[in-house]
Amino acid sequence: MAVTGAILVLFLVGHMVGNLKSFFGADSFNHYAEWLRTVGTPAVPDRVLLTVIEIVLVVAVVLHMWSAVSLARRASQARPVKYAAKRKSQANGYATHTMRYGGVIIVLFVVWHLLDMTFGTVNPKGFDAEPFDRLVAGFDPSRWWVTLFYVVAMVMVGLHLRHGLWSAFQTLGLASGRSYGKLKATAALVSLVLVVGFLSVPVGVMIGVIK
């Protein structure tokens, strides 16, 4: 969970920063999208580095989900008889309790997001349009439900990382008594920055800053 999660967090940071290019206009964003495909050229052919990253991400996602499913299965085997009284959480960790269903929401979102922005299948402009046009059309105010889904998914990502980030350090044995305060504060800050960064784009399209 920790290692694959770390790979995915690094991806999210890069993805969020790249998204912000949309505030600098169509050319900047389209040029960035083009750069992603040609980075490394001419040392390696077009799309090679991008494909490598895509493969790493897919493997990370699959292993992350596999770990989550095996942990959940072990958990249900470890407690075959449930408590009759409602279990009251004593640890005050709201984010912690969203990890499993939040993860499912995030994976559904990723599927939609790829169909929308990468393959253009469910995008009004389709696959052949420029990336920036797909972006603006995708978050058109008439498709408010898409934006709403996006907001819900991003909040889930934020909660996922709120627990996941410090938790990864704990799992890898890198946390110690004195570092919990700092680790949890950093987790909250990084989650917040990512959520705000990701949400700024659809909100920008909605209010017409990005057009």
Binding site: Y83, A84, A85, S89, T96, H97, T171, L172
Partner: protein, 245 residues
């Protein structure tokens, strides 16, 4: 005060078990939770019923025998307290109190609220010891220990093995218990020779017993009557990763 208890009754390991409702009257606020159960049991015996079986020994909060889930919280909602040190003044007249045994596959119910915690003994047997040369006691201070290490080791060593961490964990994990033992030995010079093999053997035994995996929810340390900190689990993970290389 008068209480309504909903207690898990199970005649034996193979019985299916059920929740049974009892009224307990004239409970003094000064009674401990176990004394309140004693009152119920005396009445059940007089009525010719089978008393509610529960584990208890020292009733001073240091043996780790008494353990039950009270209203969905291991050892009840009062922090850093064993069931025997929980007093009835924390309840109100007319309260309904649900009492259940620890729920975990590696802790099978023996009878009513009594569970078999031998799984913990087997984890200890797998590596929770140090091999020392027998002989006369060594001189004091012949092996210096840093104050911080001594303190942290002692904090971990206060674990009484009650099993509340397992009962509270949504994953049914025994990580806090195992980590407390690994930390208390691993921080001291006497524990160094077997440090790696200990972490590996104890974690493997923990998994073998059928406990769940740790997802860092922190529920264990929140209910631990001795307040064993979560960083013991980080230390266990570090030792285990080092030993697995």
């Amino acid at each position: 005060m008068n209480l309504t208890l909903k207690v898990w009754r199970q005649n034996g390991p193979s019985d299916e078990g059920r929740m049974v409702t009892y009224k307990v009257e004239d409970v003094s606020p000064d009674m401990s939770f176990l004394e309140m159960l004693d009152v119920l049991n005396e009445r059940l015996i007089l009525e010719g019923d089978d008393p509610v079986a529960f584990d208890h020994d020292c009733r001073e909060g240091i043996c780790g025998m008494c353990g039950m889930v009270i209203n969905g919280v291991a050892h009840g909602e009062q922090r850093a307290t064993t069931t025997c040190q929980l007093h009835m003044r924390h309840f109100k007249d007319g309260d309904e109190v649900t009492i259940e045994p620890w729920r975990a596959a590696p802790f099978p119910v023996v009878k009513d609220l009594v569970v078999d915690r031998s799984a913990f003994d087997r984890i200890i047997q797998a590596g929770g010891f140090i091999s020392v040369p027998a002989g006369s006691a060594p001189d004091a201070h012949s092996v210096p220990v840093k104050k911080e290490d001594a303190d942290a080791a002692f904090d971990a060593a206060t674990c009484i093995g009650c099993g509340a961490c397992v009962a509270a964990c949504p994953n049914g994990s025994a990580s806090l218990f195992t980590a407390a033992k690994i930390t208390h030995l691993g921080l001291l010079p006497q524990g160094q020779p077997e440090r790696d093999s200990r972490a590996k053997a104890m974690v493997e035994q923990m998994d073998l017993e059928g406990f769940g995996g740790c997802t860092n929810t922190g529920e264990c340390t929140a209910v631990c009557p001795k307040g064993i900190p979560l960083d013991t689990i980080a230390r266990m993970n570090a030792d285990f990763l080092k030993a697995s290389k």
